[in-house]
Assembly symmetry: C2
Homo-oligomer: 261 residues x 2
């Protein structure tokens, strides 16, 4: 049966999962759109709850339909209804609701790694996703996000991360980074903060210790004072008074952190 | 007189300048929104054609109103009309139309510099603006864009570049980069292409020559073959099979190019 009504329960549910963070949290589900992201989700071991295809996608992606039908209930909707559900201008017509990973384990697992990036108040979902993607590419072992960061599992952030968030699974703190920083310090991490400061060391002129955690801050307000106080400051040597975009700065830090292994 | 009609000629013109590349090209004008960008435009020496304020902005930014009134005709519109004109969700209410810089001089001026970035088919205006901002921060002397790149003077790209495009003034080629590459070669530049290739050298293990030009390509399709053939290939050592976002890769290249001075 092809669903053609916008009022259908699965249609409303899917639209809610795509558009509302609170709805995703309440249902403890991620909203994934597109062949690549759905594929990455299954590879990353996420548990599929249900999938939904547009009529066009059902014809165009038979292999994906089969793969998803094998692991969860699937629904077909008209192309018009899919457009109504989707957050994208030109949607592929493939949607998967999958179980959110258990966040409670994450901090312990992250602390076992060697290189960690913490984000303090990164609010643009595109920047956030790009940073997660870059961190994974450079072999950063884990990420910790302050409570006021954008949602790394929002559709926009997931797209920018190209699915990296499904593998790197950032730990999202309830509020500030202070608990995480205390844990990292106890575990023997050297703590760094990316910021301009009189006492800041110049990036590129020293080697990072084996266990390194580095904070990138909000572009406007930088790193919160309480977090910065616990860290050694580092700066990227630039030639003008202008600052760097947070994702550009993060790329350079990840590159340097991975070089010093 | 406060303009309250959407049909007013200056209102239509402003809306056209903000939304349509062809309109900007026909009028040879840039569309700048917001206090910071307008300020950067005057500092960069652009010639103001006319300015337009919302009623709210007229009260809130008296200094900017005065500065712009001194150099060009200014108009006041109702807040509702400004929202109609603007491309932004929460506009500040300040608009400036300014004369586009003469592109014909640019290639010659760029070739006099030492470090140059070329972009081949970067289509996301946010990525494009971020790359221009990063390049300026690292003291890159000039930028050359292939004809199929996004418009560096579109409102979205200008915002992402935080006004850097007004100072670095990229040269926009009519079509491919081939003419520019030939000129650069003649002028003694070492030409590099950022790409994964069997013959590619690893970034970070050598020093760039004094006169260096480097191409960053479109994420999906990379660098066009004709351009790549003229260059030595370079790659950023990453740990996974995933690629980097074009703006993240550009940040790392600009950082390395500026270190080797």
């Amino acid at each position: 049966m092809i669903i053609s009504s916008r009022k259908n329960q699965t249609v409303s549910r899917s639209r809610g999962l795509i558009n509302e963070k609170k709805f995703r949290e309440k249902e403890a589900l991620l909203a994934l759109e597109g062949e690549k992201l759905c594929d990455e989700a299954l590879k990353a071991g996420l548990k599929a709850e249900y999938a939904l295809f547009s009529e066009e996608a059902e014809k165009k992606f038979p292999q994906t339909v089969k793969t998803l039908s094998d692991v969860c209930p699937t629904y077909i909707v008209t192309d018009e209804v899919y457009s109504y559900i989707s957050g994208q201008k030109t949607p592929q017509g493939i949607f998967l609701a999958a179980k959110l990973l258990d966040k409670s384990e994450n901090l312990d697992r992250i602390i076992e790694k060697e290189k960690i990036i913490l984000l303090d108040g990164i609010q643009d979902p595109g920047n956030l996703g790009t940073i997660i993607r870059t961190a994974e590419a450079f072999g950063i072992g884990g990420m910790i996000l302050s409570g006021d960061c954008a949602d790394p599992y929002s559709p926009k952030a997931l797209r920018a991360s190209m699915g990296s968030a499904l593998r790197l699974t950032p730990f999202c703190a309830e509020d500030t980074l202070s608990v995480a920083l205390t844990e990292l310090k106890k575990a023997g991490f050297a703590l760094y903060a990316a910021m301009l400061d009189k006492t800041a060391k110049k990036l590129g002129e020293f080697s990072f210790p084996k266990k390194t955690a580095l904070i990138i801050g909000n572009e406007g307000h930088g790193i919160s004072q309480s977090a910065a106080e616990q860290c050694e400051k580092l700066y990227i040597p630039i030639q003008t008074a202008e600052s760097l975009n947070a994702a550009a700065a993060a790329a350079i830090f990840c590159y340097e952190m991975s070089r010093n292994r």
